[in-house]
């Protein structure tokens, strides 16, 4: 083995293995997704959720301010009037349709900022892949937070 071959081929390879060997001892930067998940930053903005009050009523009042603030124009809201028999939110107005086109959404969070009742929030669920384009239109039923289970009486 000539000196040139050692210098140009074997030495860099050995140096590379050396780095690998040194890194083996350090903590891992990657995680075994999806089995393992990394904790997200507190202000991460991903999938929208329409939240509820503790009473179970929807926070959303269908005011369309989120749609007005949305720079991607991906929110569509249709409002209707609450009745005493059929009450969805406190006050007079609730959203009868609430749709977000997730293909258009740029996750800027302006909707959350505009919302006067804190109804729409961007939470940390980022796994939004899907097979059909139509499935990216998130409806109110998909966005709405599940009702909290009734507290068990002791």
């Amino acid at each position: 083995m000539s000196f040139e071959v050692f210098r140009d081929v074997a030495k860099p390879i050995l140096a590379g293995f050396g780095i690998t060997a040194r890194r083996l001892a350090k903590p891992k930067a990657t995680v075994q997704y999806p089995e393992e998940r990394r904790e997200q930053f507190p202000r991460t903005r991903w999938r929208h959720v329409l939240t509820r009050y503790d009473s179970g009523l929807e926070r959303c009042i269908g005011c369309s301010l989120c749609a007005g603030a949305c720079p991607a124009r991906c929110i569509y809201v249709e409002a209707a009037e609450n009745t005493d028999q059929e009450r969805y939110s406190p006050g007079e107005r609730y959203a009868v349709r609430y749709e977000i086109n997730m293909l258009r959404c740029i996750f800027c969070g302006y909707c959350q900022e505009a919302c006067p009742t804190g109804a729409i929030v961007l939470r940390k669920d980022f796994e939004l892949a899907n097979y059909e384009r139509e499935d990216f239109i998130y409806t109110k039923e998909m966005l709405l937070e599940a009702r909290r289970p009734e507290p068990v009486a002791h």
């Binding site: 009042i61 269908g62 005011c63 369309s64 301010l65 749609a67 007005g68 569509y76 809201v77 409002a79 209707a80 009037e81 006050g91 007079e92 107005r93 006067p116 009742t117």
Partner: protein, 728 residues
């Protein structure tokens, strides 16, 4: 606005800029001359100022002989302050800013700030003024006033008392503009509330306007409630096609669906007002769940959806060599009427076409022009404002001609015009009438003769018998009242208004023509207006059994009633209905039903399913007025243009297009590619419309002039009067 006649001007100074304004002009208007703005709530340019909201406070002073300015110690309300010589106004000083902040803070103390759910949010003067001039925070920690929310004042108007800032615009509107005085303030001071007197329904033909002039969301539309926010809406200018007035409106739509109608300013027609028919009537039309999407032809008991070509072939097959008649609704555009009458008279070879749906259908030879030489429409809606006296005859003006009604009332309210109302039943116009002539139903002609007896000596031969005393005996109108009415009209260039609805009264035609003639002799101007949307345009386009385009005489065909009678007897093979349903539109429902039953081929061109569909052999979907380009002629003969606003559902086509494509297949029509081309053809054939080509129609529309050199003739009417009165 009236032309500037020698007005005295005064020199005032606004923000150190000197200018001359008419003496007595309100400061709030004067500042607009400089392109400045004073925030306002209660002030409305079309109503009297009241100075209730104090939003328009300005600093005012007067120039002293030594050139210095002596300021008033307190700010003044710009909306109640008339300009006077040497006045110095500041709209932008520290003090004014502080005052505005203070006023807004007070107004917001009890305002609920439920803007997110308020229909006014986003187009709210209170929001805008607060943002521009108000404080950024509130110091009010106490509990706000709580009052009923969403109280239904009427079918159309919802009242939210918490939001009211007591500006009084709505109350003043009903007092000053619509005149029904339905709204008033109950209670005083902080508990002041606008409402109806006895908490009854807010019954007005113009109630929708208070929604638009309310500077907060206190009065909102029950029909538009929660349907959209202003930023969701797209807005385009359009026209009302439900009333004959040609009211200018905005169509607000969301995702292609009409959600509301708002008034659009046109000083010559509606100023900025709308009638409730206009404001709330279009919704059911455009959002009808039963809109027809594609052409259908009958197959046995059921309909089969077909291509246009097949539908056309079916229609032409049904018309070829058959006895055919065409009936049209009153909401089509001029282009539609022109194209359909051309099709009917060439390819279908028939003169049996009509668009009138009232009981009395005059042949051309019996009409006003043929019998007296007078045109039926002699002045415009805006001219009413300057009339010194107005005679409203045989019509419920507010219902039939809402915009003429508002102008009539304005003439009385602003200029003290004397209004004489003659009708056989109570109507809104009586509330401000100088004299009310309530005649017994069916005696309109006798009353007209009685008026002619007093006002038109030229007709003395015919009306000699019709002395006030005789008229009292005949009509029940006291003789003194009649004399008083004649006195109010005599010597003025009064305006007489009636409508074609008068024809349906006993001897109504004679009454109508006598009225026209006596008005002409007494130096007045006469308007006999049509009562349906574009009836005027349709008739001028020649959609009439005995009149061609521009009123040229043609071989007379059958009118609506005759067509239906013939159809009922089976003497019509093919009946084409364009945008009409005889069962709904014709007064004699039984005859209409029988007619549709006995017609072999019933071709329907309509936008939505009607009762007539049950009898149809072919149905062609028609686009509604806002879904296509077109021009419309209002009852005052103003031609206005509406561009396409909404998308027509399915495969709907404009009626003129349907007529043109049928004509092309029958080898008789010229190919028009756009409604503009039809209008060009109209302009060539109808002299009056020469100035109404698409590129020539101004934004406010063009009012057609009457031809010069018409000669008045008394004979026909005198004869009719003599035979009527002589028979008594």
């Amino acid at each position: 606005m009236a032309a500037a006649v020698q007005t005295e001007t005064v020199a005032i100074t606004i923000n150190d800029i000197e200018l001359h304004v008419p003496k007595g002009e309100l400061i709030v208007e004067s500042v607009k001359r400089l392109g400045l703005e004073i925030p306002i709530f209660c002030y409305h340019p079309r109503m009297k100022p009241v100075g209730m909201c104090r939003m328009c406070l300005v600093e005012v002073g007067f120039k002293q002989p030594d050139g210095s300015v002596r300021k008033m110690p307190k700010p003044q309300a710009g909306c109640t302050l008339p300009a006077s010589e040497g006045m110095v106004v500041y709209t932008d000083t520290e003090m004014v800013h502080r005052d505005r902040k203070g006023v807004l803070e007070f107004l917001l103390i009890n305002h609920p700030l439920d803007c997110p759910i308020c229909d006014r949010g986003g187009e709210c003067p209170l929001q805008n003024n607060t943002l521009a001039y108000g404080p950024s925070t509130s110091r009010f920690l106490e509990v706000k006033r709580h009052l009923p929310k969403a109280y239904p004042l009427s079918e159309y108007v919802t009242l939210d008392l918490e939001r009211c800032i007591q500006c009084g615009r709505c109350v003043r509107f009903t007092e000053e503009i619509s005149g029904d005085s339905q709204l008033a303030f109950r209670f005083r001071g902080a508990s002041m509330q606008p409402s109806t007197f006895q908490l009854t329904d807010f019954e007005s033909r113009f109630s929708g306007n208070v929604i638009e002039i309310c500077p907060v969301g206190a009065l909102t539309s029950s029909k538009y409630r929660f349907r959209a926010r202003p930023w969701d809406l797209e807005t385009r200018p359009g026209l009302c096609t439900l009333t004959p007035c040609g009211t200018n409106v905005f169509y607000d739509y969301r995702s292609g669906r009409l959600v509301r109608i708002n008034g659009r300013t046109n000083e010559d027609v509606n100023e900025e007002w709308t009638s409730d028919t206009t404001k709330f009537g279009h919704d059911a039309l455009y959002n009808n769940p039963n809109r027809i999407q594609v052409p259908h032809v009958r197959e046995g008991e059921a309909f089969r959806a077909v291509e246009w070509s097949e539908a056309y072939a079916a229609v032409l097959g049904a018309c070829e060599g058959k006895r055919t008649a065409v009936l049209a609704g009153t909401m089509l555009s001029n282009e539609d009427y022109y194209a359909w009458q051309a099709l009917a008279r060439t390819a279908l070879a028939t003169n049996h076409l009509d668009l009138r749906w009232q009981k009395t259908l005059l042949p051309a030879s019996q009409m006003l022009k043929a019998r007296t030489g007078l045109p039926g429409v002699q002045y415009g809606i805006a001219d009413l404002e300057n009339a010194l006296a107005i005679l409203v005859f045989g019509t419920n003006l507010a219902a039939d001609q809402p915009m003429s009604y508002l102008r009539t009332r304005k003439a009385w309210f602003r200029n003290g015009a004397r209004v004489v109302v003659a009708h056989h039943e109570a109507s809104e116009a009586e509330s401000f009438a100088h004299v009310v002539l309530r005649y017994r139903p069916g005696t309109a002609a006798e009353l007209a003769a009685g008026l002619a007896n007093l006002l038109a000596p030229e007709l003395a031969d015919a009306t000699r018998i019709a002395t006030p005393e005789w008229t009292e005996a005949q009509t029940g109108v006291p003789a003194d009242r009649l004399r008083e009415a004649a006195e109010a009209l005599r010597g003025t260039e009064f305006a007489a208004i009636t409508t074609h609805g008068l024809f349906d009264e006993a001897n109504g035609v004679t009454a109508y023509q006598t009225l026209a003639l006596l008005t002409s002799h007494a130096g007045g101007k006469f308007n006999g207006l049509v009562n349906h949307a574009n009836e005027q345009g349709g008739r001028e386009m020649g959609f009439a059994p005995d009149l061609g385009p521009g009123g040229e005489a043609v071989t007379a065909g059958m009118n609506t009633a005759e067509i239906l009678q013939a159809a009922a007897k089976g003497e019509i093979d093919t009946l084409i209905l364009v945008g009409c349903d005889p069962i709904r539109d014709f007064p004699d429902t039984a005859l209409a039903t029988q007619a549709l039953e006995n017609v072999a081929n019933l071709v329907l061109v309509d936008s939505a399913q009607t009762e007539a569909c049950a009898y149809a052999s072919a149905i062609l979907p028609m686009a509604l007025p806002a879904e296509r380009d077109g021009t419309y002629t209002s009852s005052e003969r103003r031609v206005q243009r509406m561009e396409r606003i909404l998308k027509a559902p399915g495969e709907s086509k404009a009626p003129w297009q349907i007529a043109m494509e049928l004509g092309l297949r029958a080898g008789s029509s010229a190919p028009y590619f756009h409604a503009r081309d039809v209008m060009d053809a109209i302009a060539e054939q109808v002299p009056a419309y020469a100035g109404a080509r698409y590129q020539d129609i101004p934004e406010t529309g063009v009012r057609l002039a009457n031809p010069e050199g018409l000669t008045r003739s008394n004979d026909a009417v005198v004869q009719a009067l003599q035979s009527l009165l002589g028979g008594r």
